[in-house]
Amino acid sequence: MQTPAPFDYERATSVEGAIASLAEHGPEARLIAGGHSLLPMMKLRLANPEYLIDINDLELSYIEERMTEVRIGALTRHVELLDSELLARRFPVFRDAEEVIADPVVRNRGTIGGSLCQADAAEDLSAVCAALKANVVIKGPAGERTIGMNGFYLGPFTTAVDGEEILTEVRLPIRQGAGSAHEKVERRAGDFAIAAVSAAVWLQGGTIADAGIALAALGPATIIASRAEEHLKGKAPSEELFAQAGEIAKEDCTPVPDGRGPVDYKRHLAGVLTTRALRRATARALQQEVH
């Protein structure tokens, strides 16, 4: 029988209260939202928090368009991201990814904030948010700060969110000519990726004004393929260009061999999936994709 080691439990009623409690209980305190990453780790003693602060009652579950961005509350669950028509229209990469994240029952509990903060290199939403060049709002004892996804991951399972801080919101900038897509290869339904790639393009006057490419399960943390992104900028989209970006992503990833496959296979996937994701993202930007 697997049960977590003993801990004390509290239900937070406000963001400020959760932050104060984190500060009071120190490094052995952890926030819990959906719990579908943390509880399995606690059962295996890979995580041993002595104090859990349940944040499920906080009013951080929403998806809304505000002027130049879409804002997603950290407690928004996978199922809500999957079902959101606003996200499907603005950032279809979300629905692509959500359809293949875990299974429908797990998606009823897991949250976007939890997924990002778990910082598992193989997790899909981290790649989605990185490709979309999202910003995240982090609140702590010193107040609120906003950082880009390019500064969010510090290493495997490590983020810029400090021990006394809480990620409260994800902000996705709305820009003209946008298209996005997620491509994933997994061993079986609901599994973590063998490799996955999120891509976004922003077209302007027939050329790629900006691009975002992020790789999951292809290194120690989510990888932003910035050299491949730069290669696309200012060029007209074409099959040849997508293949070149794929080659660069293939070179720049750092997969390790494991039960999901050897390094050369994963590198091969990095290239192929980058090319496919860019092709689909661009077709969507041009509104050519047939649904």
Partner: protein
């Protein structure tokens, strides 16, 4: 800590450790052993119950997290001696063999039909994709859920 959870419409109160999982609260504290406890790792789905109408894996939910929420287990399906259509479907079309996965399958099927009364076979397969059955090959389960959907539609038409 004192925990009060509404299970199948009845409040159950107990002094439990914060680490107690919902599945153990349901089975040991409430004494409702219809919910099965399988893999412990949120993979098999035998422990699925409804939380505010949505299927969740009770092995990966703390009992303490369910205070203030409505939990429904497989025991809630049968009403005054009449089986729920999904139970009837599993009975009619042999949607089980050993029966271990059945409580979870029934609850997920019930939640699916509540939201989508006429699902396609693909939608049924997607809905139960987080649950494992080692006996049936799933074919009979999908047929049973389909039977329930058709049976419910017919009953509604008659009424």
């Amino acid at each position: 800590m004192d925990v009060t959870i509404t299970i199948n419409g009845q409040e159950v109160t107990a002094d439990v450790e914060p680490r107690q999982l919902l599945v153990h609260f349901i089975r040991e504290t409430a004494g409702l052993t219809g919910t099965h406890w399988g893999c412990d790792t949120s993979n098999c789905g035998a422990c699925v119950v409804l939380m505010d109408g949505k299927p969740v894996k009770s092995c990966t939910t703390l009992a303490a997290m369910c205070v203030g929420h409505e939990i429904s287990t497989v025991e809630s399906l049968e009403r005054s001696g009449t089986l729920d259509p999904v139970q009837q479907g599993f009975h009619e079309l042999h949607g089980l063999h050993c029966g271990f996965c059945t409580p979870g399958m029934l609850m997920t099927a019930r939640a699916l039909l509540n939201e989508n009364p006429n699902p396609t076979d693909q939608e049924i397969r997607t809905a139960i994709s987080g649950q494992i059955c080692r006996c049936t090959g799933y074919k009979n389960i999908v047929s049973a859920v389909r039977w329930a959907a058709e049976h419910e539609a017919a009953t509604k038409q008659e009424a």
